[in-house]
Subunit: 286 residues, 2 copies
C-alpha cells in the first residue's frame, strides 16, 4: 500500500494548534501540504509562518488532495459549511481531529464513505494560527474510532499519517473513547473550575478573600489549571459529550460524597485508606 | 530588640522537611542550631547531613536555647510527649509549624506563655530526614496566628526567624487561617483524590480501564497530583481541620452541583459563563 501523504499533497482544513502543528511536521517529513483556512488574515499569517505549501480561503486549494484532515473546532466540524462539503475532493480519505467521536462519526460517516474518525490527544494552552509547533504529537496518543462501515484502507492511511508525526496509534469504539475522555479530560475541567468558584464564593469578606489568594500554593495552582482554561473549549466538550460527561459527574459525585461522609463522621482511618487507594491508583495514569 | 537566633542556639524539635530545611538555612546565616529528634537512626543521618550543630535524642540538647521551633507532625504536636514538655527551657520563645492553627493554639497557649502559633507554607513531595533543603521558605508565606494572649516580643522573634530564611510574614486570626487552608489546601486534596477514585471506579471493564489510563494526559496528571499525595498528611489535615474542611466541602458541592445541573439541562451558555468566571478568578491565586 502506498502512503498517500508521500505521493500527493495532504489537505488540511484549519491551521490552529492541531492543523498548524500537523502541517509543520508533515512538511518537515517531506510532504506537501495544501491548507484551507477561514479568514484571509489567517491565511496571510500562516503563509508568513510557512505552515503549508499552499494556503487559501478558496476551497479549490484542496483539489489535488487524496487525504484531507479536518482540523476544525467541534462546532464547525459538526455543522460543516456547504462550501466545504462541495470542495472536498471526491474519493479522498477524510479524517478529523475532534475531541468527541460518536457525534462526529454519526455526522460524517453517512456523508463520506472514506471517513475515519480520529483524535490526536495533544494540546497546549495555545490556540489559533500562532499555536502550531513542531513535534506536538510525538509520543502522544492518536485515537481512531472506526465503525463497522469504516474503509480499512482509509484507516491505514490515517494510521500512516499519525505514525509519521510520532504519535501512538490507538483504536477503540467511539462510545468507549467518549466515556474515557469524559472521565480523564472533560470531568477534570468541571472538577477544577468548581474549586476556583468555591474558593472565591466561600470567602466573601475581603480579609478572607485576600488570605486565600495569598496562601494558595503550587497544589492549588495545579489542581485548578484545567478549570481555569479556555471556556469555549470546555463548553464545546460538554455540549457534544453531554451524556458521558453526565455519567462521569455522577460517578465523581459518589466518590466525593463518600469522602465527605468520612470527614463529617470523623471516620479518619477509612479516609486514610481511601487516600492511600488514590495514591496507588495514580501512577498508571501517568 | 536583639534577635534571639543571632545570640544563642536556636532549638529545633524534629528534622523532617520543615525542621531540616529551617536548620540548614539558619546555619547558612550564621546561627547555631541544636536539634532534638525522636530516633537514634534519624540523629545519625542528620549528623551525616550536617543539618545542625548538635543533634540528640536527649532533650537536654535544648537547654541553652531561648527560641525553640516545634517542627513536629500535627498529631505529635497536639499530643506532646511528657518528656518534651519537661525538656523545653523555661522562658524560651516557642513556636510551631503545624498546618492547622486553632487546635494548636488551644493546646499550647495555656501551656506556654511565650508560644507563637506559626505555619510556614512550603512543601515538596518529600518527608523525613533526607527531605530538608536550602531556601525552601524563600518567597513563601510564613503565617502567624497570634491570639490576644500572645506575647508581642515573642511574635517579633518568630517574625525575625521567618524573615532571615526569606519567607513572607503574614499574620491573621487562627480561625481565618484554618478556613483559608481548608479551601486552598485541604479541599483540593479530597477533590483531586475523588477524581482518581472516580476514573478508576467508573471504568470497571478492563478495556475501558486500559483506555482511560492510556489517554490520561498532563491535565489529568496536574488535577490529580495533590490527591495522589501522602495519605497520612491528608488525613492529619482532615482530622484537625474537620469543621472548616466540612464547610469547604459543602461550598464545593454547591458549585459543582450547579455546573452539573447546567450540563444535565443543556444550559451551555450559562456553563460557558461559569467557566469564563473560573478562568478570570484563577490568576490572582497564582
Amino acid at each position: 500500500m502506498t502512503e498517500l501523504w508521500r505521493e500527493r499533497p495532504v489537505g488540511i482544513v484549519g491551521l490552529g494548534l492541531i492543523g498548524g502543528s500537523l502541517a509543520l511536521d508533515l512538511r518537515a517529513h517531506g510532504a506537501r501540504v495544501h491548507a484551507l483556512v477561514h479568514r484571509q488574515t489567517t491565511a496571510q499569517r500562516a503563509i508568513e509562518r510557512g505552515l503549508a505549501d499552499r494556503i487559501a480561503t478558496d476551497s479549490q486549494v484542496l483539489v489535488d488532495c487524496d487525504l484531507v484532515v479536518l482540523a476544525l473546532p467541534l462546532d464547525r466540524l459538526l455543522n460543516p459549511a456547504p462550501a466545504l462539503l462541495e470542495a472536498l475532493p471526491a474519493g479522498a480519505v477524510l479524517t478529523d481531529v475532534g475531541s468527541v467521536k460518536a457525534p462526529v462519526l454519526d455526522r460524517w460517516q453517512p456523508l463520506w464513505p472514506r471517513f475515519v474518525a480520529g483524535h490526536p490527544m495533544a494540546g497546549t494552552a495555545l490556540a489559533g494560527v500562532e499555536a502550531g509547533q513542531r513535534e506536538l504529537f510525538k509520543g502522544r496518543p492518536w485515537v481512531a474510532t472506526p465503525a463497522a462501515e469504516t474503509d480499512p484502507e482509509a484507516l491505514e492511511q490515517v494510521k500512516a499519517l499519525a505514525e509519521v508525526v510520532g504519535a501512538r496509534w490507538i483504536t477503540c469504539a467511539a462510545a468507549a473513547h467518549d466515556r474515557a475522555v469524559a472521565l480523564i479530560s472533560h470531568l477534570p475541567v468541571l472538577v477544577s473550575a468548581a474549586l476556583l468558584l468555591a474558593a472565591d464564593h466561600a470567602a466573601p469578606d475581603p480579609e478572607l478573600a485576600g488570605l486565600v489568594r495569598a496562601l494558595a500554593s503550587s497544589g492549588f495552582a495545579d489542581t485548578t489549571r484545567v478549570g481555569g482554561g479556555n471556556p469555549e473549549l470546555g463548553t464545546l466538550m460538554a455540549t457534544h459529550n453531554q451524556a458521558a460527561l453526565g455519567e462521569a459527574l455522577l460517578a465523581y459525585g459518589q466518590q466525593l460524597g463518600a469522602l465527605q461522609a468520612l470527614v463529617q463522621q470523623g471516620r479518619f482511618d477509612q479516609l486514610e485508606a481511601s487516600l492511600r487507594l488514590a495514591q496507588e491508583l495514580r501512577p498508571p495514569f501517568l
